[in-house]
Every structure is written in C-alpha cells, then in structure tokens.
Amino acid sequence: MVNKIVLDQASMQRALTRITYEILEHNKGGQNLILVGVKTRGEYLAHRIADRLEQLEGVKIPVMAIDISDYRDDRLSNHTKLGLDEDDRVNIIDKNIVLVDDVLFTGRTTRAALDALIQIGRPKTISLAVLIDRGHRELPIRADFVGKNIPTAQNEKIQVRVKEIDDVDEVEIVH
C-alpha cells in the first residue's frame, strides 16, 4: 500500500493560521481564553496557535497540556490521576477553553478530555479545534474549528507529524 501525504508543511501552517483567525473571530480578541492541548501532538499545535495569537494581538494566551490516559472509556479507572500537570494548571473556572487536538476520529478522546477538564472546574465554554477531521464519529461530538476535513476509511490511519518531535510538519494517510 502506498502512503500519501495529505497536508504538507505549507498547508499545515496555513490551516493553523486559519484556525487562529477563526478562534479570534469567536472569542473577541482572545479575552478570557485558554488553550488546552491534548497530549501529545495537540499540545504542540496549541502552542503554535498561541504563538500566532501573540503575533497578532500581542497577548500571551495560557496554554495547558492535558493527558487523557486515565479518562479513556476502554479502561477501568477511578480517575485518580488528574489530566493536567500541576505546574501549568490555571484556573479554568469561567474561562473560554479551546481544546486542541491533532485528529478528530471517533470522538472518544475528546469525550475523555471534556471529562478531565470538567473534573477540575467549570469553564464558561469549551470549544474544539482539530487539525484533521477524518470522520467516523461514535459520539455526538463535532469540532468548531477544523484545519482540514479528510474523508478516510475505517482501517486507514492518519499520522500527524509536528516539527517539535517528528522533525517535520506533515500529515500522512497510512494504509
């Protein structure tokens, strides 16, 4: 099977740029905004969006990383391990949260991230930004900001690579 690059570096940058503009449009200049990246790659994407917001508005938007491993619905857990690092935990109560992930697929990761977030406070709003929406939802979840919609088959895999850890910015469909 042949793997196929569906987003190269330039289009990935542009997708993040457009997502940033849309986030600004819906959050009135980034007031009260917090970006929460879903580990692993969502965290880097959240930082990229925060950098763009800073270029435009000159404000630093807080970025947090969330680890949803203890909130997955395919493992039994009593959620003892909080999803957010102690160090970068900000008060999320009454804030507008944008959850950032690389790929939206079944929606189960997002569901887990919502649970993890709500356990530590009650934000005013939570919206969802994803670089890739590949379809096949199993839960009633939809993204507010989408970099690119890529229709896929169930058995295909979407591999998002980011410079920070993969040395390259690209998205590939792996068969």
Binding site: Q13, R14, T17, R18, Y21, Q55, L56
Partner: protein, 359 residues
C-alpha cells in the same frame, strides 16, 4: 517623429513617438516592475492614467492572447526608455506598437525615464499630456484639462454575467475587475457571477453565494457612492468575503476606517510583504494610490494581517467578527509572483468551512 511629454508642473520630456499619433491627457504615474507590461497596460486600474516604465526595454515580448487583463486597455499613454521591435511573424505575435495604434493610445520612447521617475517621486502623480509641439496652446490645454473621477463607471460592468464552473458559487462585485481574478477563480472551478457594484444586497443574497469577492478597480474609493459601503457592511456579516485592491480600500471604509493618499503612487512588485500571523514573507504585484491610515483604523472592527516591509503600509486587514478579509496587493499573479495566490487558497478554505457549517 519627435514628440513631447508636458507635466502639470511645466516640465517637458522629449522622445520619439510610437503607437498612435494622438494627443493625450491623463494622470502620470510610474511602474517599477521589470516584467508584465502587457498585463499592466490592460489592467483596468490604470483607467485614465499614463504609465512610465522603469524597465529599460519594453516590448520585447510582443502582445500575447493569454496576457490580457481586460479586453480594451484604458491607459492614456505609455512612456518607455527603449522600445523593442518584435517581428510580428515570430509565433504570429502582435507587437506593442501595433497594439497601441489599434487602441489609439500614444507612446513615447527614448525618454530619460530614470530622470522622469525621480522627478515624479519628488513632485508626485500629476496631470500630463503627450503632444507634437510644445507651445502655449498645449500648456493651456493641459492646465484646462479636468481629469475624470468616474473611472469605476468607465471600467466596471453594468450588467451581471456568469463565468460558470462546477465548484463553489462566488459572487464578484465588479469595480473594474482584472482578468487575473477570474483566471484564479477558474483554477478553483468556481461558479462565478460577476455583478455591477450598484447591485442591491437582496439581489446578491438571492443568488445564494458561498463567497464574495470585492474586485480591484481604478480611481479614488471615496468617489464611490455610500451604497457600496452599506452593501459591504451587510454582506460581510453573512458570507465569507475577500477584498482586493480597491475592494480592500472599500472594505476598510465600510468598517469605519480611513485612507490616506500617497504622494507618489506605488506600482511594482519588489516590496516584501509580511504575513504578520506567521511572520512569513511574500512578494506580490502592488498598484496603489491610497493606503489605509494606520491611525484611523477602527481596531474594534478590523486588525492588520499584512504589512509592506519597505514603507510599513497596511497590506491586509481582517474583520474581528466575520470571515471577511482583504489585501491591498494583487494576489492573482498577473503579472507578479505566484506565491501571493495563497490568499485565494485561504479564501476558499474559509468558503469550505462556511458551507460545511451552514449545511
């Protein structure tokens, strides 16, 4: 035959005539680009203007069927340093001299264009005339000439028309559209409807567009009726919008911002432009006599997305509340660097997003 260029300030430049032997009046500006003279002289933004080319030799490419930016050129004159004679037999191309004769446009070559451009940089855009004889009569005629401010009426379509495709339905509001915009929309297989700028909001919305483009065009945006600004204000809140050139200036005016007139117009493609959000640099063809005044920008409504790195002028704006944005430069690459075409890619991605959210 020796002919002469007289400027409003009285200065005379002499050269040899080519093109039509007519006497002409117009506003004189200069172009620093080193390619794309055919696209430039056929671009409707130059309605009523005479263009001095900084490029030392002009005409070496002849005239091509694929490089028209409008059917009928609206420039009033062309001033070059040296004119290249191109055989009309070679690839059956027409040459510049014959083209100008057909359209009754006079040209002047063997002119000291470096000196002329330096002079225009100092004294600014002004009225000028190309004549056979420099005498009191010619000077009086020039002083008495009143240049039109109805350039958009002269160049924009008065009737709606379609440029069909199988993709998104894009409405272009025509203020003196250049072909390059339609060419790029064709690359996206867009289903295009071009409308006169006098079209009402209801007429536009009845067409159910997926996106709206405010076209490039000639003249001073403040000469257009207030109804245009109302049209923009309503449409920007409903459908994704991209303003280009004059369309960008109108987008700014519609959003409570003001313009300033440049002392000398800038026409060229050698200024780096920064996309602020990504800090990336691009080059694009520019042609502007007005820029958005940074001190009179309504930052509650708009923010700056692009800047010219040479004169720091505002080159791009975006609305804070709607998917509406605009660029001062020409992103269609006709003529000019192709990298600026990404503006259209951004526009179509915004359109995709809009269509998906509203279905």
């Amino acid at each position: 035959m020796e002919r002469h260029l007289i400027l409003e300030d009285g200065t005379v430049f002499s050269g040899q005539g080519f093109g039509a032997p007519a006497t002409t009046f117009g506003e004189i500006i200069f172009d620093t680009a080193t390619s794309g003279y055919q696209e430039t002289i056929t671009n409707p933004i130059y309605d009523g203007q005479m263009i001095v080319f900084a490029m030392p030799v002009v005409g070496a490419d002849g005239i091509h069927a694929e490089a028209y930016e409008s059917i009928n050129p609206k420039i009033r004159g062309m001033i070059v340093h040296d004119l290249a004679e191109v055989s009309t037999n070679r690839q059956r191309r027409m040459n510049l001299d014959r083209f100008l004769k057909q359209h009754n446009i006079p040209g002047l070559y063997q002119v000291d264009t470096r000196k002329l451009i330096r002079h225009l940089r100092e004294t600014g855009s002004q009225k000028a005339t190309i004549v056979d004889v420099v005498d009191d009569h010619a000077r009086d005629q020039l002083q008495a000439t009143v240049l039109t401010n109805k350039q958009v009426q002269n160049t924009a379509t008065t009737k709606a028309y379609s440029n069909p495709g199988r993709g998104f339905h894009i409405v272009v509001i025509d203020f003196g559209l250049k072909n390059g915009i339609l060419r790029v929309l064709g690359d996206y297989d867009a289903n295009v409807t071009v409308l006169p700028y006098t079209t009402s909001v209801d007429e536009v919305l009845t067409l159910d567009p997926d996106g709206i483009i405010l076209s490039t065009g000639p003249g001073n945006p403040e000469d257009l009726p207030e109804s245009v600004l109302t049209l923009i204000r309503v449409l920007q809140s409903k459908v994704p919008m991209l303003g280009i050139g004059l369309g960008h200036e109108l987008f700014a005016l519609a959003n409570n911002s003001e313009l300033t007139t440049l002392p000398a117009e800038y026409h060229g493609m050698n200024h780096p432009i920064q996309e602020i959000i990504s800090q990336e640099m691009i080059y694009a063809r520019q042609g502007r006599g007005y820029v958005v005044d940074p001190d009179a920008l309504d930052t509650k409504k708009l923010f700056v997305t692009h800047r010219d790195m040479v004169d720091n002028s505002i080159q791009g704006l975006r609305h804070r509340d709607f998917p509406a944005f605009s660029v001062q430069f020409f992103p269609d690459g006709a003529p000019g660097p192709l990298e600026a075409k990404r503006v259209f890619a951004d526009f179509f991605e915004t359109v995709v997003d809009y269509v998906q959210k509203n279905n």
